[in-house]
Each structure stands twice: as C-alpha cells, then as structure tokens.
C-alpha cells in the first residue's frame, strides 16, 4: 500500500514524578494509513492516551517524549517549533475526548466555538466561517444546524455534544482525528451512532482516525487495524479481522475472554489475574509475565521481540519466537 499518513517509531515517554520515573510508553511503533481507522486498545494506564497526546506533542508535564520519531505526512513532528506545531493542531491533526460536555467551553454557543476554530486556522470572513459552521453541523448529522449553532453546550444531549466536538475537530479539514475514548461516556445506542458517523467520515472524506478505546467490541466493529498495548508496549498488532480470527498474545486472549456474553450468566467471568504493574518499576522481562499462564523461564530474562506471525500480524511473545 501507499506511504502511511502517520508513522510512530520506537516512541518512549517518561513522567518524572516525586515517586520516580514512570515509563508510560516504551518503544511503541505503529503506522496509520490514509483513510483507515486504527484502534489502540488496552487497560487503563497502559499508555494509550499518552501515545495519542504525543502525536499532538501535548503530553502534559512532567511527562516528556524522551526518544522516538513521529512522522506525519512526511514531516518530522518532534523537530518542529512550537508555532509550527500549533499550526498543525486542529488544522491537520485534531483530537476529541471522552467527555464531550467538559470539552466544550460552557460560555460560548456551539456555533461561536466552531467559527473560532475555523478562523483560528484560516483567514476567512465571518460570513464564510458561519456558512462552513452550518455545513459542518450538517455533516455530522445534527438536525436543524442554524438552531443548534445558537445553543449552549449544556442544552444538548451527550450524543449531540460529541457530534459537535467532531464537527469542531473536522472544521479545518484535519486529515487525522485522534478519538480518545469517544464513546465511553455515551449510552450504547448513541455509541453505535457515533461509531457509524466516524466510519462514514472515514469513507466520505478519506479521514484517518486513531481510535483509542478499552472496548474490544468497538474495535471489532469499526477498526481496520489494531494495536494492543500493555504497560506502554505493543504486544500484538495487525488487521482487525486477523486478530479476531486468531488472537496470539495471552493478554489479548484474556481481554476478549473477560467480556461478558449472553449465556455466561451465573458463571464467573474469566478475569486476568493480578493487575497492571506500575510503570515505575523497570523489569527486564516480558511485562505480562507475572500474570501470564504460559510464562516460561525465558520470559523473565528479556523483552520478547515483535515477531511476524501472519501477513500483517505481529506478536510480542516468546511462544512465537521460532
């Protein structure tokens, strides 16, 4: 296929805290292609959001990117100056968050906020910005855009707020949308609507989306490719259908097994024993080894390499090292 839109190579992010250095992201590498939805899955605290924020260079202090390379559309993002980076944020890479209600400024109307974003990045007249605002509201499937533009965020429902956030994010024709748990705060039917909207936008605008989620169901439904993160390491990545056909990594298998299903009523859920280790402690071996049912001696000694097990399917586990 053609050159990827985004490529992250060997990204390392550290947080220097009073308790010590937290290694949030440890050597993540992945590519996002043009016009695809790429899923980033993992438990809370595995570095999904930090990876997303790294793309915008907005890792909050005391966090910092200590190593790695991020290329976006041929540009090396980590070498850009702050003003150059600002011109990319919102214009070419946008982000939407988990809680749409908190992501909109409560004192401005929805229309004003979208107009502001448009005028932030493009020198257009108010009139043009206003027309584009209404177009965007239409694009994200909101009924009666002129009326919606006049409302304040708190007057809209959660699903509508998230649609407004998407309109805001895409108002300047961004080619990459980072969606950090965009449906976690919404109920299931609305969640399905938002995911459908994202899929439609991918098709109609050739938009690339980095979908950060802890929900494997969401991934199966919407993502073209997926990477599974565990304490800042990619443990498995590949095409969604390959991974769901045959999960290789014990962690991915555990995640899927822990989803409740109809028919499993009354039986205990097969949870992964133990909990996510803190990024504070560095250990030489596989980070999943303490919780892994297949742990071997070699797992304690060194980090397993990412090995190819299918056409585009990679797994970091010694069980597949030939």
């Amino acid at each position: 296929m053609n050159e990827p839109l985004v490529s992250i190579e060997n990204l390392h992010v550290r947080f220097r805290t009073y308790a010590g250095e937290v290694r949030a992201v440890n050597g993540v590498s992945l590519e996002i292609r043009r016009g695809e939805i790429f899923g980033l899955v993992g438990e809370t605290g595995c570095g999904k959001s930090v990876t997303g924020l790294s793309l915008l260079r907005l890792v909050p202090p005391p966090g910092e990117i200590v190593a790695g390379r991020i290329t976006f559309d041929g540009q090396d993002l980590l070498s850009l100056s702050e003003p150059e980076m600002r011109a990319i944020r919102g214009a070419r890479i946008s982000m939407i968050f988990q809680d749409p209600a908190a992501s909109l400024n409560p004192v401005f109307t929805v229309g004003e906020q979208i107009e502001l974003v448009i005028r932030q990045h493009q020198s257009v007249t108010r009139k043009v910005a206003r027309r584009r605002t209404l177009e965007m509201l239409e694009t994200v499937g909101l009924p009666d855009p002129p009326q919606i533009a006049k409302t304040y965020p708190h007057e809209l429902s959660g699903g509508m707020q998230q649609r407004v956030m998407i309109a805001l994010a895409l108002a300047s024709n961004a080619s990459l949308l980072i969606a950090d748990e965009p449906t976690t705060a919404l109920d299931l039917t609305i969640q399905a609507q938002i995911l459908t909207l994202l899929t439609e936008l991918k098709k109609s605008r050739g938009l690339s989306i980095l979908l950060i989620t802890h929900n494997l169901g969401v991934v199966a439904e919407t993502c073209d490719r997926v990477a599974v993160l565990y304490v800042g390491h990619v443990v498995e990545k590949g095409r969604t259908r390959d991974i769901f056909k045959e999960m290789k990594h014990p962690y991915t298998q555990g995640l899927l097994a822990a989803i409740p299903r109809p028919g499993s009523h009354g039986q205990p859920l097969p949870a992964i024993s133990g909990s996510v280790p803190s990024g504070l402690v560095a250990f030489p071996g596989c980070p999943f080894e303490p919780r892994c049912a297949f742990a071997m001696e070699v797992c304690r000694q060194g980090l397993p390499p990412l090995v190819r097990v299918g056409e585009e399917h990679h797994v970091a586990c010694y069980r597949f090292v030939a």
Binding site: L56, L58, M85, R86, A87, I88, R89, G90, A91, S94, M95, I96, F97, D99, A102, S103, L104, N105, P106, V107, F108, T109, L116, V117, Q120, H121, K150, T151, Y152, M165, L168, A169
Partner: protein
C-alpha cells in the same frame, strides 16, 4: 429597513441564546426583594450625584461656596438636612459629595479588576516560575494592612487629592482579584475544554483571554460589586483623615470628619453624610449577594 436596523436585528439573532440567559437572570433578580431594594438605593445615590445641580436649589453651596448667614441651621423645610459651619446646605453637600465618594468606589474597583484579573489568569494558567513570581509579589502587597498601605502610598504620591487617593486605594486592592482569578484559573486549566483548545492549536494568550477570562468573570463581578462598598468606605476613611478630596470639594468622609466636632450640638452635619456612607456600602454588599445567587444557574432555576 435601514442599515442600523438590519445590523441590530442580526445582532439580536446571533445573541439570542445569550439574551435569553440575561432575561432569566433579570427574572430571578426581580424575585429577590433585597436585591431590588439595594439596586434602588444605589440608583437614588448615583442619580443624586449625577443630577445634583438640578436637584438642589443651592448648587453653589453644594460645590463649596460659603453662606455664613445660615450657619448651623437645624433641618427644616428649606434645608431638610440642615446647614453646616459655613452655612452650606448639607443635603446639597451630600448630593455633590456622592460624586467623589461613589466615583472613588467605582474607579478603584475598575482599576483593581483591570490589573488583578489578567495577572491572576496568567499566573494560574502558566504555572511554574511565572506563577510563583506573580503570586509572591501579590503576597508582598497583601502583607501590609490595606488602609495603612494606602495611606503610605497616598503620602508618597505627594499633595493629597482625589486622584492620589484613588490610585493609592486601587494599588492595595488588585491582589485580591489576582488571588481569586488564579484560584479559578487553576481549576479551569485542567478542564477538558481547555485541553481541547490546546489540541485545536490555540495559542496560550488566546486561551487565557478567550477561554479562561470569560469563565472567571462571574465570581469577579460578584466580588467587584461587594468591593465597591468597601472601596467607598476606604475612600471615606482616607478623606476623613484628610488624604482624599480636598475642600471645598465635598466628600462624605471629609464631611463626617468636619462634623465630628459638632456631633453633640449639631448632629445633622456629621450624621447625614455618615448615613449616606452606611446605606451605600450596605446596598452594594446586598447587591453582590443577589448577583451571586442570580448568576449561578443552579440556584436560580431552583428559586
């Protein structure tokens, strides 16, 4: 339809949601009789100060011209508040005195908000060394008793005058707004919509002035309204000790100071300007309370 009309219509349409918000506020405000009463009291004093020359038959005496024939007349039909030691009508003096006393209240608060609010927002949003620097300077100003500091500044500024008193008081006042706004900003900074604005490529200055400031204006407005009363009181204290408006320009504090010698035999001279200070200060405090209740949509809708 004229251009102006079309423009106005456009403006109303664009601001409809905001106007509706104001309508709700006004409705809630009208339900609070203490708030309405205090607004009425303030209105009477402000109107009295502005239209003083037309409200009294003795505008010259109000400005300071003596009329020794009428010295120390008790309250009567011609002089409802009596006359002072130079025979001037006390009512006229109180009306004209409102100009400097109310003026100092409003101006001090406006200057203090103008200095303190942006500093607080910058400190709160920037954090790190800039925050430390601004807040430690603020602490330094706050470590002196405000009236003493104002007296010292007024003395340093030279000849006592209305302007000097105003500058002196305003300089002791801004740190409170810096603290208030900083506290609000620190909690706003972590909210998602500020993070979202950063994610949209908005610069730091734009975030502070466009996204932070409008969100902290409500507490600032409430504090400012309450402070007008205290600023008037401080202004009166300054002119009481002779550091404010200079005779013959009338001022409530200065009138109370002059009248205190005669308080036993001619109580009206000191009492009426004192009453004016009392009523206005109380009214601004009550108004501030009401605005706080009204500006919060939760308490408003429940009412």
């Amino acid at each position: 339809m004229s251009v102006a009309e079309r423009w106005l219509g456009d403006w109303v349409r664009r601001r409809e949601a905001q106007l509706e918000e104001y309508r709700l506020m006004v409705r809630a405000f009208r339900r609070d009789w203490l708030g309405v009463l205090s607004l009425l009291v303030i209105g009477v004093f402000v109107g009295g100060a502005i239209f003083a020359p037309y409200l009294t038959p003795y505008p010259e005496e109000g400005r300071g011209a003596p009329n020794l024939v009428n010295k120390f007349l008790p309250p009567s039909r011609e002089h409802p508040f009596g006359t002072d030691y130079l025979g001037r009508d006390v009512l006229a003096r109180v009306l004209f005195g409102g100009r400097s006393s109310l003026g100092i209240g409003f101006l001090v608060v406006i200057i203090a908000v103008a200095i303190g609010t942006p500093l607080g927002a910058i400190a709160g949003y920037s954090g790190q060394w800039l925050d430390e620097a601004i807040m430690r300077i603020t602490d330094m100003w706050l470590s002196f008793p405000p009236l003493l500091l104002a007296i010292a500044i007024a003395a340093a500024l030279g000849r006592p005058s209305f302007t000097n008193a105003m500058i002196a008081i305003a300089l002791t006042w801004w740190p409170w707004y810096t603290r208030l706004v900083r506290a609000q900003t620190v909690s706003l900074r972590e909210r998602s919509f500020i993070e979202a604005a950063r994610g949209m490529g908005v610069s730091r200055i734009t975030i502070i002035f466009r996204h932070i400031l409008p969100n902290v204006m409500t507490p600032v407005m409430v504090q400012a309204t309450m402070d007008i009363g205290s600023a008037i009181l401080t202004g009166a204290a300054m002119s009481f000790i002779g550091l404010g408006a200079q005779p013959p320009t009338p001022d409530w504090g200065q009138m109370v100071s002059d009248g205190r010698i005669y308080i036993m035999n001619q109580p009206w001279y000191g009492a009426f300007p004192g009453l004016a200070i009392f009523l206005v200060t109380l009214a601004f405090n009550l108004l501030g309370d009401t605005i706080r209740d009204v500006a919060d949509p939760r308490s408003r809708r429940a009412a």
